[in-house]
Amino acid sequence: MSATADTHAHDDHDVHHHKETFVTKYIFSQDHKMIAKQYLITGVIIMGIIGIMMSLMIRMQIAWPEQPNAIFEALLGKWAPEGVMDADIYLALVTIHGTIMVFFVLTAGLSGTFSNLLIPLQIGARDMASGFLNMISYWLFFVSCVIMILSFFVEAGPAAAGWTIYPPLSALPMAQGGSGMGMTLWLVSMAIFIASSLLGSLNYVVTVINLRTKGMSMTRMPLTIWAFFVTAVIGIISFPVLLSAALLLIMDRSFGTSFFLSDIFIQGEVLHYQGGSPVLFEHLFWFLGHPEVYIVLLPALGITSEIIATNSRKPIFGYRAMVASILAIAFLSTIVWGHHMFISGMNPFLGSVFTFTTLLIAIPSAVKAFNYITTLWKGNLQMNPAMLFSIGLVSTFITGGLTGIILGDSALDINVHDTYFVVAHFHLVMGISALYGVFAGIYHWFPRMFGRMMNKNLGYLHFWITAICAYGVFFPMHFIGMAGLPRRYYTNSNFPLFDDTTNAQTVITVFALIAGVAQLVFLYNFVRSIFYGKKAEQNPWKSNTLEWTAPVEHMHGNWPGAIPHVYRWPYDYSKPGHDDDFVPQNVPMKDGEEELHH
C-alpha cells in the first residue's frame, strides 16, 4: 500500500542523499534504525549473554555448593581456585547479574532498541528529534557497558554489595573486597549510564510530542508508542534521583562526607562518620528502583499490546482503558518505593501508607491482564513466534504479579522479605515478562530491521523450551522462599534447617541450564537470519501501523516520498465493511465509516 498521494508542505523536507562512509553508517550513525540495531546488538545480545551466563553460574553454585567445577575454573580464573567458586565472587556475580539485566539489557536494551526503531516509524517521523543526541546516548551507553565489564578485572574484584548497593557495605572498602575499585567503576559506569538514559528519554518524549504526522492524534497512537512515551517520562522523573544518590555515595566514599554513614566501627577502628543514614540512601535508591521496574515492564507491555492485536486480527480491547492503566501505573509507580523498606527501620505508619499505594497498582495491572485475555476472545489467532512470546508474557505477568499482593502487604513482607520468594516474584513479573517482550519484539520487527524473516520453527522451539523452563525455575522457588531461605546466600550448608530445600534447588538449576541452552537456538536463528533469512515482504504480519508502509531498504528519512498521513486508529482489524481483515492507519475513511473505538 503506497502512501496517500496528497502531500503537504512541512512534510516535504528533502531527504539528504549525502555520501555515507562506513563510520557514519555503522559506527557514529545518527539514523534511528541503525542506533536501534546498535542497542540491540550491544544491550540485548552481548550484555544479555553475559548476564545469563552469570545467572547460570549462580545457579550451579547454589545447586552444587563448594564443589569443583571446570566451568568456574575456566570462566572465573583466580576467583575459583581449583574450580571452587569463592564466596566474594558469588556476591559479585549476583550483583553484576542484577545490574546488567535490569539496567543494561531490560532498560537500555529494550527501550533503546524498540523506542528508537518504532517511535519515528510508527508516528510517521523522518527520524528522532535529535539524531545527534541519539548517537551520543548510544555511545555513552556503550562506554558504561565497557566500564562495567572492565570492573571484573580489577584486583579486589567487582562490586559485590548487591545491585541495590546499600551503604555502608558499598561505601567501605574494608567491609568487602568489591567495595574498593570495583564499586568505583560501578558508580562511574552507572553515572554515565544515567546520562545516556536521560538523553534517550528526552529525545523520545520530544519526538512523540512534536513529530507526529498529520492525523496522528494522541488517541490514535499505537499502544507501543504510549508505553515508550510514558516510560521515558518515568525515566526522566526518577533516574536523576539515582544519580544524586550515586554522587552522594561517591562523596562519602572518596571525600569523607557523612550522607549515608554514621557510628561505624570496623576492623578494629572507629570511623569518623557521624549523622548520616543508610535509610536515606534506601529512599533515594528505591525512588528510582521501583519506577525502574515499570521502566522495564511498560515497553514490554506496549510491544505485547501491538503484537496481540495484530496476530489476533482484532482491535486491542479497551484502548482507552489500556492508556489509562499505563498512566495510572506510571503515576502509582512513583509513590510506592517504600514497599522495599517495610523492615528498614522506617516508621511503621509510613509502611501502612506504602502498603495502600502498592496494592492499588494491582488494579490497573488487572485491567491490563483482563483486556489482553478479552482481545484473544473470538479472535483469529495467528500463532507466530512473536504472538507466543506475547501470550507467554501475559501468563508470567499474571503469575508473577499475583505474588506481589503478598509482598506488597507490609505484614506478610516481614516473613518473606529478602527470601527466595522475592527472587521468584520479581524474576517472573519483570525479568521473564520483559525478556518475553524483548523476544516478541525481535521476532515481530526483525523483518523491519533486517529485511529478512526469522525461522518460525526455531522460534517455536525457542519459545516452548523457554516457557516450560521459566515456570520450572521460578514456580518451585516460591516454596523455598516460604521456607525462609534468604537470598544471596553463597551456600546454606551451614543451615541444616534448609537441607530439605536442596533437591528443589537442583531441579531449578537443571531447568535453568536447559533454558540457557535454549537461548542458543535463538542466537543461531538470529545471526543466521540476518544473513540468510528469507527475504521479507513489505508487511509480513498484515499490520496496520505505519512502520510497515516504509520500504524495507535502509534509507534516511524512512519514506522515499511524502510522509503518510493517518486517518484512523491503529487497531482496525477485521472491521466490518472492509474486505481485508486489516485497514492500515494511512487508509482514508470510507464515506460514512465511523471510528468505532470511541
Partner: protein, 352 residues
C-alpha cells in the same frame, strides 16, 4: 557425581536440540515458506497452549505435593504469628483462585480461537461495563486485603510498653550476633561504637560508667522465656544486617547509626516445638537427606544428626560470610530462663 550426570544430561539435551534445529532448518529448504504462521502452525501451537496450561497446573500441584511441607505457614512460635499466617493463607487462596481462572482463560482462548484461513475475527473494541466489572472486583478484593493487612501490621508493629516487655539488644557485626539483656532493672546501659574497647573486651561499646549498664548481660546465644513479651532493640556496628527470626515471623534491619526495634511474644518453647509432629516429620526428612550426604557433612566437621532449633539469621547482604551469620535462639520456661541467666556474667565482670 550428580553434577557430572546432570552435565551429561544437559549436554545430551543440547545435542538433541542441535539436531532438531538442523532438521527444522533442512525441512524448509526449497519450500515456499514465507515464515508466517500457517493454519498448521496455528493448530499445533493451539494444542501446545492447552498442553502448557496442563503443565502450569501440574507444576502447581507437584510443588504443593513435593514442596508443600517446606513453607513456614503453620506452627508459628509467636503470639502474632497465627494472625499473620491466616492472612498469608487468605492471600494465597485469593491468588490461587485468580491464577487458576485467568491462566485457564488465557490459554483456552489461545487454543479455541487459533487462526483459520478465511475466518474473520469479531470486531470488538470496547465495553465499558466489562471494564467497570474488572476494575471494581479487584478494588473490592484488594480493599479487603489492605484493611486486613493493615490491622495485622499495626498489631505487630505497635509495641505496648505497658505489658512490661523484656528489653533485649540484638547487636550485629560482620559476621556474628550478640544479645544484651537489661538485667534486673530491665534497662539497657548506654552504648556507642566510640566506646568500643577491644583490649578490655568491651565489644559492644557499652558505657562502663552508666549505672544501668552494671547489670547488663551480653551473650552469644539468645534465650527467651516463653509467654513474656520481648522488645528487641537492634544495633549494628558496621554495615546493614537484618535480624530474621522466621519461626517467630519477625524481621527488622540493623542499621549503623540508629536503633531499630521489633517486639513479639514467644509462645512455644524449643522443647515443645521439637515434639510437634510436623516439625518431627521435617527433622526426620532432613536427617534422611543428610545421611545421603554423610561423607560430605562429616568432612565439613558438622554434626550429622540435625536437631530442631530456632534461629536468628542475617537476611541483608553484609559481606563475604553473610551466608553464615546466625545465632541460636532457645525458648524455655521462666524457671529455666532464670537458672540460665544466673549463670551468665554481668557486663562489668565480663571485662578484662
Amino acid at each position: 557425581m550428580t553434577t557430572l550426570l546432570i552435565f551429561i544430561i544437559v549436554l545430551f539435551v543440547a545435542v538433541a536440540m542441535w539436531q532438531m534445529v538442523k532438521i527444522f532448518d533442512l525441512a524448509q529448504v526449497g519450500a515456499s515458506n514465507n515464515q508466517v504462521a500457517t493454519d498448521k502452525d496455528n493448530t499445533f501451537n493451539g494444542y501446545m497452549m492447552i498442553g502448557f496450561l496442563i503443565f502450569i497446573y501440574a507444576i502447581t500441584i507437584a510443588s504443593f505435593v513435593y514442596l508443600g511441607d517446606l513453607p513456614l505457614m503453620s506452627n508459628s512460635a509467636s503470639e502474632h504469628g497465627p494472625g499473620l499466617d491466616s492472612l498469608m493463607v487468605i492471600s494465597m487462596v485469593v491468588i490461587f483462585i485468580v491464577q487458576t481462572i485467568t491462566q485457564f482463560l488465557l490459554h483456552y482462548f489461545a487454543y479455541k480461537y487459533k487462526g483459520e484461513k478465511g475466518r474473520k475475527a469479531l470486531f470488538y473494541a470496547d465495553n465499558n461495563t466489562l471494564e467497570a466489572i474488572w476494575t471494581i472486583i479487584p478494588v473490592i478484593v484488594l480493599a479487603g486485603l489492605i484493611i486486613y493487612g493493615l490491622f495485622t501490621w499495626n498489631d505487630i508493629m505497635n509495641i505496648d510498653e505497658s505489658e512490661d516487655p523484656m528489653v533485649v539488644e540484638l547487636y550485629a557485626q560482620q559476621f556474628n550476633w550478640k544479645a544484651r539483656y537489661g538485667g534486673d532493672d530491665n534497662v539497657l546501659g548506654k552504648a556507642n561504637v566510640r566506646l568500643i574497647d577491644l583490649d578490655r573486651a568491651n565489644i559492644l561499646g557499652v558505657d562502663e560508667d552508666d549505672p544501668n549498664a552494671q547489670d547488663d548481660v551480653i551473650v552469644t546465644e539468645l534465650h527467651l522465656p516463653v509467654g513474656r513479651p520481648v522488645l528487641f532493640k537492634m544495633r549494628s556496628q558496621d554495615v546493614l544486617h537484618s535480624a530474621y527470626m522466621p519461626h517467630f515471623r519477625a524481621q527488622m534491619n540493623c542499621v549503623p547509626g540508629m536503633v531499630t526495634q521489633f517486639g513479639f511474644t514467644p509462645t512455644v518453647t524449643t522443647a515443645e516445638m521439637r515434639q510437634n509432629p510436623d516439625i518431627q516429620d521435617k527433622v526426620a526428612n532432613i536427617n534422611a537427606l543428610r545421611l545421603e550426604r554423610k561423607a560430605e557433612i562429616e568432612e565439613a566437621g558438622q554434626d550429622l544428626n540435625y536437631q530442631f532449633d530456632y534461629l536468628l539469621l542475617c537476611n541483608k547482604i553484609c559481606g563475604k560470610s553473610h551466608y553464615n551469620m546466625q545465632m541460636k535462639i532457645v525458648v524455655e520456661t521462666q524457671e529455666e530462663f532464670d537458672t540460665w541467666m544466673a549463670e551468665q556474667k554481668t557486663f562489668p565482670n565480663s571485662l578484662n
